[in-house]
């Protein structure tokens, strides 16, 4: 799985972008999005998903269940 950003709740504050250890977050059409191919759920980097921890609007960065769970190499 990977994280995704619910765009209707995103304030485009950009706080998540520099925190992502995988450089998976970018701005698109006025809000931020996560590239699911790059997202590792921060496994191997931090105990908590950084985008979730820094986001000012709760329940905006959430697990995208349409992707399989990330497996650390």
């Amino acid at each position: 799985m990977a994280y995704k950003i619910i765009s209707s709740q995103c304030t485009a504050c950009s706080a998540c972008e520099p925190e992502c250890p995988n450089v998976a977050i970018y701005e698109k059409d006025g809000t931020f999005v996560i590239n699911p191919k790059k997202c590792t759920e921060c496994i191997g980097y931090f105990d908590d998903a950084q985008c979730v921890a820094v986001c000012p609007v709760d329940n905006t960065c959430v697990i995208d269940t349409s992707y399989p769970r990330y497996q650390a190499a």
């Binding site: 709740q9 304030t11 485009a12 504050c13 950009s14 706080a15 972008e17 520099p18 925190e19 931090f46 105990d47 908590d48 950084q50 979730v52 921890a53 820094v54 000012p56 609007v57």
Partner: protein, 511 residues
């Protein structure tokens, strides 16, 4: 005193002149006021140089000099219960209005465009809408570009302090002279009710631990700024029942660490802003509660009372907002010629007028020297700036409040109101809210006022005064006070306590 016909053209040319009174301080209580453009007795000349044209650091300068904020810093590293990040920061911005985000390059262009249009714009601040130091690259890139293009503009920033100790050296290297830290508590027990969480070392930290880390970082940052010779203003949001009594302790803590100015602001918490405090019914202070706290903290510390809690992209004099003239779309079309000499020449005229204004007030005060009375009154003033009574009652979007006694006059605050007069007709519904906003005042000084509001003000016990139209505010206030004392002595009036007044919540300008 200038004759009216001499002053009118000057007003048209600019919205400035300037006496100087130090920095939001009074002429009473041990903080000497300074009546000229030379440094006041209680202030080092180098400090004076830094504040004399800074509208936020000097109450007197705010009548004449303008500032602007550029919204290049949207990210934040903490969450505050008075702020709703889904819109904007309620205590820094007009609530519910989303700022236009700018890149550093756009911000630089905007600053030059504004500086060329408004020559009394002397200060550029970065105040969010998040935390400038949670966006260090964008913040410092903006400073770098502006410093190169417009070296006469003072740079400042406003931060929650969490990341401050990591950046003091960089701040110093960009010649940033002024830093504001928002400090609402020095006790984590209090802080846990204000800050739900902070983002710290790659973790979200909550509760007392979050507040403990935040206060440690704020105090360390303040000490480092003081050691680096950077002037520091401390902003505190007054939240009744949560930190109102505690702010006296905050005042002592920041004073002892070298803060230059303390700005205690009322909580803004209308439910429609969607903040935690707004939604749970936490009230803001009344005008007299705020004034009493500011008065109790005033002593050796300068208190700021002229803060308008402006938005993170504000442009213009404090109390006016010209940001709509400078949208990205408009500034990209502007052909900007930055002329530093023209700006300097313009500001020199201000300095001459500034001294004239002080002389007028001092001359008036001389006549009060022999008098002593316990009586102090508040007067509300309709002004467009320049330290003069030059606004119609019905056009005023705010009233400035002056306290006058035999010790002199001082600015003690301002009250936002909705326009009473729209399109030439008095709006009946708004007059009671205007009266509630200035209910603690004995008189309201205006350039002009209609017969109907005049009668209603009188009925509410507020004296509508238009005889000082276009004259200097403080000189007129002292003159009015002399007459007031005379009327008490003659038995014509009895001085009574005027009670309290409302602080306007919600948007600055009615939609």
């Amino acid at each position: 005193m200038l004759e009216q016909n001499q002053t009118a053209p000057l007003e048209e040319v600019m919205q400035q002149i300037a006496e100087h009174k130090g920095c939001g301080t009074s002429s009473e209580g041990g903080k000497a006021s300074c009546g000229s453009s030379s440094a006041p007795e209680d202030m080092a000349p180098e400090v004076w140089e830094k504040v004399k044209n800074h509208p936020c650091y000097s109450e007197e300068a705010h009548h004449h000099y303008a500032r602007m904020h550029v919204a290049v810093a949207p990210a934040c590293n903490i969450q505050c219960n008075y702020c709703n990040r889904k819109y904007d920061c309620a205590n820094e911005s007009r609530p519910g209005v989303v700022s236009e985000k700018l890149t550093p390059e756009q911000a630089s262009k905007k600053v030059l465009a504004v500086a060329s249009t408004i020559p009394q714009m002397t200060v550029l601040g970065i105040a969010g809408p998040g935390d400038p130091l949670a966006n260090p690259e964008k913040t410092f890139k903006t400073f770098e570009l502006i410093y190169k293009a417009a070296p006469d503009i003072k740079l400042c920033l406003s931060t929650n302090g969490l990341a401050l100790p990591d950046h003091v050296e960089t701040i110093k290297s960009f010649n940033v002279d002024h830093v504001t830290i928002t400090i609402n508590m020095v006790d984590p027990e209090v802080g846990q009710h204000i800050y739900p969480w902070i983002f710290w070392k790659h973790k979200r930290v909550t509760g007392i631990e979050a507040a403990r880390i935040l206060t440690e970082r704020q105090m360390l940052g303040l000490e480092m700024l003081t050691a680096a010779g950077i002037l520091c203003k401390v902003n505190s949001v007054m939240i009744p029942g949560i930190n109102d009594k505690h702010l006296v302790e905050v005042n002592r803590a920041v004073k002892s660490r070298g803060a230059f100015l303390h700005n205690i602001m009322p909580l803004i918490s209308a439910p429609e802003h969607g903040t935690v405090f707004g939604l749970n019914g936490q009230r803001g202070p009344t005008a007299q509660e705020l004034k009493a706290l500011q008065d109790s903290c005033e002593g050796e510390m300068n208190m700021m009372r002229h803060c308008r809690q402006c938005r993170a992209d504000a442009v213009g004099l404090l109390g006016e907002d010209r940001s709509a003239e400078f949208t990205t779309e408009k500034i990209m079309e502007m052909d900007v010629q930055y002329d530093i000499e023209k700006r300097r020449a313009y500001q020199e005229i201000v300095e001459q007028d500034r001294q004239e204004k002080v002389a007028a007030k001092n001359a008036e005060l001389l006549e009060l020297e022999e008098e002593y009375s316990e009586v102090k009154i508040l007067v509300a003033v309709a002004t467009k700036g320049s330290g003069r009574i030059n606004e119609h009652f019905g056009h005023a979007q705010e009233f400035q409040i002056y306290e006058v006694g035999t010790g002199g006059s001082k600015f003690v605050g301002h009250r936002r109101v909705d326009l009473y007069c729209q399109g030439g007709y008095g709006e009946e519904d708004t007059l009671p809210t205007v009266i509630r906003a200035i209910n603690d005042c004995v008189a309201v000084f205006v350039a002009k006022i209609g017969g109907c509001p005049k009668d209603e003000l009188k009925a509410a016990g507020i004296d509508p005064v238009d005889k000082y139209a276009h004259e200097f505010i403080e000189q007129s206030a002292v003159r009015y006070f002399k007459e007031y004392l005379g009327r008490i002595k003659s038995g014509e009036i009895v001085h009574v306590d005027r009670g309290d007044a409302d602080i306007r919540q919600g948007a600055y300008i009615a939609a």
